[in-house]
Amino acid sequence: MAELSYREAVAAGIAQEMRRDPDVLFLGEDVAAAGGVFKATEGLLDEFGPKRVKDTPISEQAIIGATMGAAMTGLRPIAEIMFSDFFAVCWDLVANQIAKTRYMTDGQCSFPLVIRSANGGGSRFGAQHSQSIENWAMAIPGLKVVAPSTPADVKGLLAASIRDPDPVMFFEQKSLYSVKGEVPDGEHVDTLGTARVVCTGTDVTIAALAAMVPRALKAAKILKSEHGISASVIDIRSLVPLDTQTLLKSVSETGRLVTVEENPRLCGWGAEVASIVAEELFWDLDGPIVRVTTPHVPLPSAASLEDEVLPNVERIVRSVQRLVD
């Protein structure tokens, strides 16, 4: 095991796959010579050269369009959209073209591509550089949606996404880039569509994603030590495909579910999870399903204000306590 940062795990995952498969290319703004604005792709240009690691103009439609065209003609491209908020300027290519073309053409082509993007808040960047938009992608049939919380998952799930024959939206939580963690040595490839049980408890299941996972874990520790409440924490990791079995099994054991979501309230991923659990486990539930989310507001910039709206450890603890007591 080597200790890598979340950002180093990005480059390690891409490099592992580029070494293995000459059809893998990587393109985006400032990703090659500069190594990415978050320095998550440093070293790739040196190792693989400018034919495979390409700096693009500030042209999100061209980046995503070129990625789609390359994928439908035999390559396995990886694109970077610098901030996930910028998907708003190329959403046609993602939502109308990449997601639907296989279906519309009666399965004549497929799109083995990955679009990586820095997603989420906590970095004081304000409302247009901080959104958590996994649920935008999740709402569209034809896109797989992944959001890792640890360096090991970044490498393993990124490798799995690159090998996957379908389009994968890969959301990296930007406030986690400097977090370090153990990453398995040698080739590391994980499996899409699998949630991870981070810790097991008996009173409540807390389901979380990306930056909300470490917060949920911290909350679980406080709940145990200060309130005698035993919580399971599940890292959802992959929204599409969604590992409902792991989730349903846990909730059937604890009888309670709390989701912790970074997105604004309406139509966040937790709403879908809650509806599945309500429909399939209603008679096993010991209380209402509770969603902890950012309120339905854009994200403010000032540290004090951003901290006020993003779900924090204290709010998770309070919500769980109220549910269990």
Binding site: G65, G69, T73, P77, D106, C109
Partner: protein
Amino acid sequence: MLECRGLEKRAYDLFMQNLVKGTSHLGLGQEAVAAGFGTAMRPDDYTFCTYRGHNHTLVRGVPMTAILGELMGRACGLLRGKGGSMHLTSIQHGVMGSYAIVGAHLPIAAGAALSAQYRKTQQVTTAFFGDGTTNIGAFHEALNLAVVWKLPVVFVCENNLYMEYTPIEQVTAVKNPAADRAAAYGLKPILIDGNDVDVVYETALAAYEKARSGDGPSLIEAQTYRHGGHSRADPGKYRPSEEVEAWLARDPITNYRARLEKLGIDGETLGRIEADVQAAVDLATETAKESPKPPLEIAGIDVWADGGAEWRN
């Protein structure tokens, strides 16, 4: 060109008989562009076109029955009814899709060209689009990227003088919407008579030669005119009748027939070709009409590469 004309006329008739539902955008009058480029291509070249793409699909060798069947939503349709008139695609013929969001396919075509360049296959990609498309961002992003990366792609603007209903000159900063913008991307302006199939063919050959020898993209503006309205049963009443008449006199097929006769091809031979094409259209129509509706279960498959549509376990 004759096959395109016959197919599109039949598509119109079928629409009026309510056998084609939804919408349909015909290329009547614009046949010379698709035919000229289609003839100049290699079989393994890629084409990307718009919702007005029946001609561009046919010229790559896609059977008429599959096209008419798709328009009618039948099992014999090219996409078995999952795409419809605006999305004709046949990967095996190099028809990489018909795109219904204005401009979307230009960057995608650049990506196919990037792939051919990377794989060193000498394939050239052609993207066909309308005059109105030159005012959307994707056009500019794709052109810039293609030039910066010297991609083997040919952008073909079919200037039929109108977007849907608005004359292009009312909404465009320059007179020739594509040609006058070529300089902004360091490209030579190429403005041609898109109703003269020989001119189109020669222009295409030169652009393909340039792309295959590694000299990058071309932007070609082909001036043409649609004989009918924008879509469905649009009678095109917003167009002055003198304009329509002038362009009908420049019909690519009538004029090419006259040229062939002048070159000594007798009327009997030409008449026979016309009759053969008509018979092929009739046969394709009857075959498509007899084809059943597609099996209902295909509505729920092929979201993913494994053929399925599962999103959970």
